[in-house]
Amino acid sequence: MKNVLIIEDDKLISSLVQFKLKKEGYNVTMAEDGIAGIDAINLLQTDLIITDVMIPFKNGIEIIHHAKKVSPKVPIIVLSSLGEEEGTVMEAFNLGVSDFVPKPFNPNELAMRVRRLINN
């Protein structure tokens, strides 16, 4: 079973994504803030990371930077509001994120992107 890590401070969104991905057959771990996210990246064997940009303690860019250093081959999806962090999203792409899903989003579409990246 493939492992997916979700780093998102909005518990409702992360719960919904977790629910959807579990239904799709993935093992999902959730982290509510940046520090918990980095700990999870260090400790767990992750096949894909879904992260928000604006999260407490560490921002998404720091997490992406760390994830790329620890496990450069793990694909990362940025799940965030477009517009408010346009520059940050560009920076994230420069760091090597695999995909960007803007909010509001369709969970089915997100699940499809996860499947595509993990299968690749």
Binding site: L16, P104, P107
Partner: protein, 535 residues
């Protein structure tokens, strides 16, 4: 309003007068207790020993050979004529010694006062006694005649004299109205602070309990909402009855108002973050769980924040059946209720005439205008919004907002309506219409603009000049130069010359300004300077 303000001022005046009266009466009473300089000696003659007060008799003889050592007097080291006694505790003894010395010897004597071994004047002694009396440490009326000779008389005298100072002090505190007032004030403050602490504690504990419950309820609703949203068969949700949906949630929770509030908040939050058919599913869940009824119920609450949250929920979840109730709140005195009610009506009522906005009696704030603009922009993209009612509104701020919308939404076809409005428009409307003309390069309104150069309103004048700078014709140049000669205001002259220079730079150069007009030369130098003319 004016009456209330007057009443407040009168209350303040009465309070000040009462305070001053109390203050001055206190001062007078304090002075009544004092003793006079002339009464000092008689007081000292009739009292026993005064704590801290001693006397020394000085005697200056006329004859150098006089010897007063037999009378226990000491001779001064520097002067053979000057003699002084030991310290004496009773004034009467000092007085007797002084009288005896004067009787038996040639010379002059005096009684000198010492307070705690330091020589002081009579006024110093008076002040000291005054303090003692005021602080109840010394009672001049309780005169003890120390001429008694035996112990029996002293005991007799002691039994007759009540112990007064402490008793009097106690009574005086209780009967002193100012002291009682002070104690009452302090007591009231104490009680008020205790009540406040108690109220704060209750509010804080209630808030904390609510936070804990909210968190618990949030955790409880994640599962059922996820189940319903990601059901494999979307049609099944439509067929589900409320009872079947309620079974997914913990028993009895959907009867708790706080749980319903949490559910609505979570559904609205998801509605903002999701797209596609999930939005429709969320609205269906909201309706099936009869949360719309809870939102409508909130509109009848007295608390403005509850009513506002109800309106926002109705707006977010498109509860169209609540339109008549929300419509009644569009003229509410509370700003937030009114603003959200109008926004909701614009959003969900599907009334393209914008009547709800045109009927607004209160002036529109910039925040409201921004909020309504976003909704009207969305409506305008969807269908054919009619703006005419806005221009006909009795509310000036609504008419101004309508004119702004012409500019923001690029409604070029409405410029003819604005031109018709212009002559009878207010200053603010004219300024907005001028901005529209400027924005769309609308030359048809030039005649009206020229007329308004004669306005007494400086802001309008400057706006007219600004528009003429971009749209002005040859006629405009001549009229502007005429106004330049008429006006003396520096800012107006600067803007006129700037406009003329923009329309026809040669006209500024060729114009025959009188040589002594230094101000004009400065403006022209400024306009012709390649760097400064951009400043």
């Amino acid at each position: 309003m004016i009456f209330e303000a007057g009443l407040r001022s009168l209350k303040k005046l009465i309070f000040t007068l009462v305070f001053l009266k109390l203050f001055f009466s206190g001062n007078l009473v304090a002075q009544d207790d004092s003793i006079t300089v002339t009464g000092l000696q008689s007081v000292l003659e009739n009292v026993d020993e005064v704590p801290g007060l001693e006397f020394i008799v000085y005697f200056k003889t006329l004859n150098d050979t006089t010897d007063l050592t037999l009378l226990n007097l000491s001779q001064h080291a520097d002067s053979v004529n000057f003699w002084f006694s030991d310290t004496i505790l009773l004034y009467n003894q000092a007085k007797e010694l002084n009288a005896g010395l004067s009787l038996l010897n040639e010379g002059s004597g005096s009684i000198n006062y010492f307070l705690f071994k330091r020589e002081v004047s009579e006024s110093g002694v008076l002040e000291y006694l005054d303090n003692l009396i005021r602080n109840e440490l010394f009672d001049p009326s309780g005169i003890v005649n120390n001429s008694f000779t035996n112990e029996g008389e002293l005991v007799l005298l002691g039994t007759k004299t009540a112990f007064r100072p402490y008793y009097k002090l106690k009574v005086k505190i209780l009967s002193d109205i100012k002291m009682l007032l002070l104690l009452a004030c302090l007591g009231m403050f104490l009680i008020a602070s205790l009540i406040m602490v108690l109220v704060m504690f209750v509010i804080k504990s209630k808030k904390r309990r609510k936070e804990v419950l909210t968190l618990r309820f949030k955790n409880l609703c994640y599962g059922p909402i996820s189940d319903l949203l990601f059901d494999d068969e979307p049609e099944r949700l439509k067929q589900l009855k409320r009872e079947e949906l309620v079974c997914l949630f913990p028993k009895g929770h959907l009867d708790i108002d706080l749980f319903k509030d949490v559910m609505i908040q979570e559904i609205i939050s998801l509605n903002k973050n999701m797209k596609g058919d999930f939005k429709a599913r969320l609205k269906l869940i909201y309706r099936k769980l009869e949360l719309d009824k809870h939102s409508i119920k909130k509109l009848s609450f007295k608390r403005w924040d509850v009513v506002t949250s109800g309106i926002v929920e109705i707006n977010e979840m498109d509860v169209i059946e609540a339109v008549p109730i929300v419509g009644k709140l569009t003229s509410h005195v509370n700003f937030y209720i009114r603003s959200n009610a109008v926004a909701t009506m614009l959003n969900i009522s599907e009334d393209m005439t914008l009547k709800v906005l045109a009927d607004q009696r209160y002036p529109l704030s910039k925040w409201q205008q921004m909020k309504y603009y976003r909704i009207i922009k969305y409506l305008n993209n969807k269908g054919n919004v009619q703006f005419d009612l806005l221009f006909e509104s009795k509310n000036e701020s609504v008419r101004v907002f309508g004119i702004k919308l012409v500019r923001y939404l690029g409604l070029v076809d409405r410029l003819s309506v604005l031109r018709q409005m212009y002559r009878t428009a207010s200053i603010n409307e004219k300024i907005e219409i001028l901005k529209c003309y400027d924005n769309f390069n609308h030359l048809e309104g030039l005649d009206d603009i020229h007329t308004d150069l004669s306005t007494s309103d400086k802001t309008l004048f400057l706006n007219v000049v600004k528009v003429l700078k971009n749209l002005g014709s040859e006629v405009s140049q001549i009229i502007l130069m005429e106004w330049f000669r008429k006006t003396k205001d520096f800012e107006c002259r600067l803007k006129i010359l700037d406009a003329v220079n923009s329309l026809n730079p040669e006209l500024v150069t060729l114009s025959n300004f009188s040589a002594n007009e230094e101000q004009v030369n400065q403006i022209i130098a400024h306009l012709k300077d390649p760097i400064l003319n951009h400043v």
